[in-house]
Symmetry: D2
Subunit: 416 residues, 4 copies
């Protein structure tokens, strides 16, 4: 009997025991290694449903690398097609020159679109990008007796920011508390903690540090902690507080494109693109009651997140993007298109979470930002700048396509 056969026998036996109610689905790792446990689950599911899970089971990493760290009840892996766009040419503070960017998606035409935007940007000498803010937030909610107590707690917090910082930072070697804002609603006190989490996306760090700080507040004031997250963070929900104040990185990118380049690459004019941007991204989004004033930022953010091991649920915040597009005329009367994107709350990292998985780490390597930066934070800054420029590329290309009226036909050809 080969080793593989032996594993399969173990797996079959475990699947049987789950079916018989002897074991629970999540207990399999207690009885075998992670790969065999995943196999057992596939066997179970294949019997309970009509599924054939052979490709899900065909993954390229040790299950033990992911199981328990990134996933529970693991059965295998989903494979999402990945491609590459670029090079993205940019003048950033952390990233410069040229970077390729991998994008993973199943939406036909997306990479072609972004790539066309990248070409437009390259043709214009590159985009400029800047990280304007950087902080990961966590906002616990406390219960107090009444608004008088709420007011006291707020005063205490303001007077004891040093002690709170000390408590929070005692839990982390690299995180720094950079913001602490109290909000009161009746007998609820919310404290929004913001941390510089360097190259980590920072949610776990922020959660653990905030937990420690909460214990201090809970002990020293009349406030009682109700929930470590009180939704003013705001994590994975569309929320104005993120669009206004930022979360993760707030990053802008822009480019100025000559009328000639707009014409030759995008087959339209600066004025036509500016008009589409105004009517669609500004007026349309305004009328929709939107927090996203852009064409397809989430497409680029989602694809970049998947390819580099970020949390796809944070695409929600990643869509808080304002795109601007205006015609500029220089003193000689030459017309150009100035376009920008500002991503208010781009939450990403180059360490931790999904970034360590093999295909995702390879994605970070393509950009050149795997692991911690030197100085700390610069790898995540660089990734944010590159993603911002790719988002700009996606906007330029889609606005251009709309201006030139071929959205539907492009989909007819490429989508399905």
């Amino acid at each position: 009997m080969t080793a593989a056969d032996a594993d399969e026998e173990v797996a079959a036996d475990l699947a049987e025991r789950v079916r018989d109610g002897e074991l629970r689905l999540y207990e399999l790792e207690d009885h075998t290694d992670a790969d065999t446990a995943a196999m057992a689950r596939r066997l179970l599911l294949e019997r309970e449903t009509d599924a054939d899970l052979s490709t899900v089971g065909d993954y390229s990493f040790d299950a033990s690398e992911a199981s328990g760290t990134n996933i529970e009840n693991m059965t295998g892996a989903v494979q999402v097609p990945v491609g590459v766009v670029g090079p993205v040419r940019l003048d950033g503070e952390a990233a410069a020159d040229e970077h390729y960017l991998p994008l993973a998606t199943t939406e036909g035409a997306l990479l072609a679109s972004v790539n066309r935007g990248c070409a437009t940007i390259r043709e214009s000498g590159g985009a400029t990008a800047r990280v304007l803010k950087s902080k990961m937030t966590r906002a616990p909610v406390f219960r107090v007796e009444d608004v008088a107590a709420a007011s006291e707690v707020v005063s205490w917090v303001r007077a004891n920011e040093d002690r709170i910082r000390e408590a929070a930072e005692s839990t982390t070697s690299h995180g720094e508390l950079v913001e602490l804002t109290p909000y009161v609603v009746g007998d609820n006190v919310f404290l929004r903690f913001g941390y510089d989490s360097k190259d980590a996306m920072g949610m776990n760090m922020a959660t653990i540090a905030t937990q420690e700080a909460c214990e201090l507040v809970d002990a020293e004031t009349p406030a009682s902690l109700v929930a470590l997250s009180g939704n003013l963070c705001t994590d994975k929900k569309p929320a104005a507080i993120n669009a206004v104040e930022g979360r993760g990185r707030t990053v802008s990118a822009d480019v100025e494109i000559s009328a000639e380049t707009v014409e030759s690459v995008l087959k339209t004019t600066p004025a036509a693109i500016a008009e589409v941007n105004t009517r669609k991204n500004h007026v349309g989004s305004a009328k929709a009651g939107s927090l996203g004033f852009n064409a397809q930022a989430a497409n680029v953010v989602a694809a970049a997140f998947l390819a580099t091991g970020q949390d796809p649920a944070q695409v929600v915040e990643g869509s808080n993007v304002i795109t601007t597009a205006d015609v500029r005329v220089d003193e000689a009367g030459n017309r150009s298109l100035y376009a920008s994107v500002t991503l208010a709350s781009l939450e990403l990292g180059t360490v931790g979470g999904g970034t360590k998985l093999p295909t995702q780490a390879e994605g970070l390597d393509v950009v050149g930002v795997r692991g911690g930066g030197d100085p700390a934070g610069t790898n995540a800054d660089a990734l944010a700048e590159v993603v911002a420029v790719a988002t700009l590329a996606g906007e330029l290309s889609l606005l251009g396509a709309l201006a030139a009226s071929h959205l539907a036909s492009a989909h007819e050809q490429l989508g399905r």
Copy 2:
């Protein structure tokens, strides 16, 4: 020379030609098969960057299945760990009894959390779920001369809904136009088209049908089409119009859980969970200016989307979820927890897009909803109901954990 060696040689040559500027990155499929083209891109990237792309290159499907349909500039695939939760027990209209649900994520503790919620629901006899609305929308923006013309166009559209429907539906064998709402802002006329797209997510269908309808409007009225999407759709942006009026499926799920079950499975009380829900999901989200009044809906939606081939950028709309949690007392004085989730704009399908890729199709098979339903639309309805119940499970588990104060410690153990 083996076939593999031959392919590698071809790939190396193509990579060389791209580097030399003879070919562009996206032209490789014109010169070789899709797998070799992907290999060529990997070789190029490996040389241009420090990346080793061996695991990205280790995918389990023919590149030709994805390349050009789901992706351009393909280099391989990203592997995202997938696990399974459930069985999800529910009384829906399209789904009933029990379903397993695959979830793909890299966020430790997520599946454990959802699974604990599923157990709570099973213990309570299952959840109830209903799809309340179903339509995929597209909202072009037209330019008119002034508000008098805008008013005329609106009148014409209202009077000619039949002709518009005929035009739109001429492009599709299965889609039906079920909504057509005009909105005016100055010299902009937006028409929000809503289609019953059956088992398809429906964006491509809606785009193509709307394009045809727009040509009619453009020809018969003073309105000129500016952009096929005017952001009142609203696709992949957080927008109140989706939260209020819905997009894709609007689906609710709920469950009533006895105090005993809350105590035994979630280690807390109905009142404590209701309090967390009020302070965090209602008051906190209200204060944050949010369109998402929930704890972690996007986590579940994102993970289910990845595992079943949906568009992860549409997690944005998937986060428009309101969670309610209240204590109920029956006539005998027995207390229970009533909890519900309402997903206003869950956009998904069981045909088209990423659903055909092998690992994703296997995911749909696990749920039992691969391909078109009978009658049409019921597979996507069923998937929506199952995802809604899983979202409810995630809410119950996280609210319970917060109520029992172990969020941070759970992360310390499971996350990294």
Copy 3:
């Protein structure tokens, strides 16, 4: 003893009895006429506080006209300075040619600003205005057992719209039910009723008609009425549902102004105004998470509301205004400014409420829209059109002033 002295004696006696706890403040009208009751309250307040209420007591109407109808616990009247702007020249559907508009405010520079805008519009041949939607809404909330019951109730409502309409309309001689939209959130069913209330603002009519309809729904379905208003109306709260779907009148006004007129009247250029509008009203409002994309619409709406007897609390909805401003170039190369305002939810009437009070009725007479129109609804439509054009005038003037950089100095001269 004169009659006045006698009244004063009665009032003094009543004030005494309130102070002694024999009578309550609101019971005075049971013991004397409305004017003497108001006097009694003034006497009481003058003794209890240091106030001298002589000007509050110097009002020009019979207290009995207002007391109990428009106010309780009446003490007199507040006097708000009123002026006039115009003539407002417009091409509307209900209003045409020229109308003066009274505006009541205490904010210096407001009327001067609006008046300058009116001059700009007159100079350009007048504005165009159109009422695009008209309905007053009320949205009760019902409690149901679970989402299955919610789904049933929605189905029943859709199938029984005729019966519901009949019930609602049985309470009103002129109101018509023109919209009935169900919304579900877990065990909550909201029904948004929209009525054509003709020349009335319509809240009372809508409330009474909806109450009747609710009794039918309550009797025939498992739903139980919890509150006649469930905040999806939405009355007097900033809410996207109003900005998107409208409430009261949705009305647009626009004008095209030659570059010469922009220069001569507003002392700036079309491009400068368009730039201010983009940066402030579009980008700034987008970044602020706003539902109002305008410069000062609420100022004009509030002042017109006060002068014509509308409800000033509905200025909240009146501020849901999008202003657009673009440069247009005709075929001969002549440049002009196209500017528009779209008021999504302007709630006003020419009958009922405060419109019957003497100074307010005089205000309606200045516009020429006092009382019911012929056909019904046209007076309120005309008022909406005039207010929209005045709002446009306010926008033009303030955008022009900002473009020409004299906001602060204008305030220095005129404000205090």
Copy 4:
């Protein structure tokens, strides 16, 4: 000829000259006193329209007190019925014990409703109120070349906050710059200035001080001022930035009411009120995409604003109110209702603007807060606390009425 006759003759002559186009409507004060100018306008309007403006002309102050300061093109005054509620019993930081509050409105039933709430609060020993934040904001928008320049400007602003403060405060004897927050969107830099404006509402002070600060920024950085207000202020528009961060005063008020009092005064139960609050104010407002989670806060704010000389257009921000209502059970098992209101952005003052007009000043005297406080700011703080408690009273009463199901019938009796 009496003086009055002489004035009338002058007025008639001026009206004639306006009609003949010799004079403009706004130039009359150049030719006569303010009262006669107002009379001339009334004569003109009476001839041009069918209006009789005799009650508008019957005002109780010298036109010269208002004309040019509070109004232009003055014709007279609008009289709004005013009544009184209270006493409002409260424990605030600036206000204590009992205060009467005048409310001006034309909406029948409003004062009765608020007064019933005041009685409920008095019966419960009074409410608690706290001002949590206080600042008036102005946010100019600057144009920069690109995002690199934007980043530089932000850095300069952060490094030069002292110089900016000095410039801003040089224009004011009492205002203090307490906040300065930069926001970037592409080539737009917004600076949100927040001032402690003491007893003044503060808009004019903030505008003038910010103008001075802008000149410094404009001179020292590559930024060019485009508009003194860039809509991130946000003045008189519904905007999340105000709801989240506050503008004017952020003030909370709350009360705990025994079940007995709820029963005896409001004729319902704590649980019924809590249920209405959840379904209507929380879930309904959430579904509506609202920034106001309350029942009728704007009614109370608007009526108090009118009666005390505030700016009614700022009722928009005044409606950013979250109401909470929960059942509390003490250790002995006694049930009570805890209710609170939090007004995020209540903009008011006791000096300047409309507060100096006679009837409005009398209104402030009723509350006991006319003019500047000692120490400065305490009068406006006290007014804010009183208005907050009255808002709470309005919420309690309306929630109680809804819970007891008599909204419509109350309107049938009292409204018209």
